[in-house]
Amino acid sequence: MDLNEKELIANLKSVEKREKAFQLLVKTYQERLYWHIRKIVMNHDDADDILQNVYIKVWRNVDGFREDSSIFTWLFRIATNESLTHLQKQRRHSVISMNEITDSLAESLETDVYFEGSEIEKKLQLAIIQLPDKQRIVFNMKYFDEMKYEEMSEILNTSVGALKASFHFAVKKIEDFLKEDLK
């Protein structure tokens, strides 16, 4: 944890300086957090809602931040958990099956007005959607965010070995999906 981050945390915990420190926190990490969430839930409106929930949680619980990890790791952890909770809620509140949830995400991608990728990029995203939630997160963080396994391990509370294996299997599944699609 560098000095700037320590100062930021101290300001967040101070009643007088909290608001300004919080604005800085929002501006610094909002984009990165947003894209992380968006790649999990696919939909912009859901991602926006979850991102707000993440920051509201931070605002309410900053005094409980134990500083055993960096603030970035803490934020990403909250964002990941909120996104997974959102997906789990969607499954619980609907009577549709797991496959239909995947289809629902795929349909969301197809009809998303904020999707501007090429056909091949769409196929890749559709392949990623087929992955189980956690595997999808691992793939996104490694492939798109270029995060180190050690960093991912802290955020996801999973061993480096397990993450490497998860990424490997994710790549295999995506390959198989794309090969099947080309047939």
């Binding site: 707000q52 920051y55 904020y114 999707f115 990728g117 798109f144 490997h168 790549v171």
Partner: protein, 158 residues
């Protein structure tokens, strides 16, 4: 062997998907990030305002509930009582209670009745035949007429 295989697979991604540093093909509404902080602030303020409102109501709720229960009980008890005591009877009772004692004979007789027990009254009535006949002198008669006694007063007079 396993690790070597995985490294090969990773290289395969570059080959298959081209540049692995591909940005996700999504976009955001115009000005989304520029306005995000303001929208977030508005939402936090709104939620905090709701929390304050809710906490005031939280403390008032038992008091309001109790007041509502008491009002309901009064309403439930009052309605049948008022129905039992019809308006005419209520008015008459009020009217009689407001009358002067030198007024109507009815109010005097009711006053007298209130002093007599039922037994006393019945015995007075039933013993009428057994009463020794009084000598009704002219003076007595005059006295009765002047006093303007009603029946009850005459019966109960000893």
């Amino acid at each position: 062997m396993y690790r070597k295989e995985m490294k090969e697979k990773d290289k395969n991604i570059e080959h298959q998907f081209g540049n692995p540093k591909i940005e996700p093909p999504f976009r955001v509404p115009e000005g989304y990030f520029e306005t995000f902080a303001d929208r977030l602030k508005a939402r936090i303020e709104e939620e905090e305002h709701h929390v304050i409102k809710r906490s005031v109501f939280f403390y008032l709720k038992p008091v309001l509930s109790m007041a509502a229960s008491i009002a309901l009980i009064i309403l439930l008890v009052n309605a049948p009582i008022r129905k039992f005591l019809s308006p005419e009877k209520v008015d008459l009772a009020v009217q009689q209670s407001n009358n002067d004692s030198s007024g109507s004979n009815n109010s005097i007789s009711e006053d007298l009745l209130s002093y007599l027990s039922e037994d006393q009254f019945l015995s007075a009535v039933t013993d009428m035949d057994n009463l020794e006949p009084r000598t009704l002198s002219a003076d007595n008669l005059a006295h009765y007429i002047a006093a303007d006694y009603n029946d009850y007063e005459i019966i109960t007079e000893n």
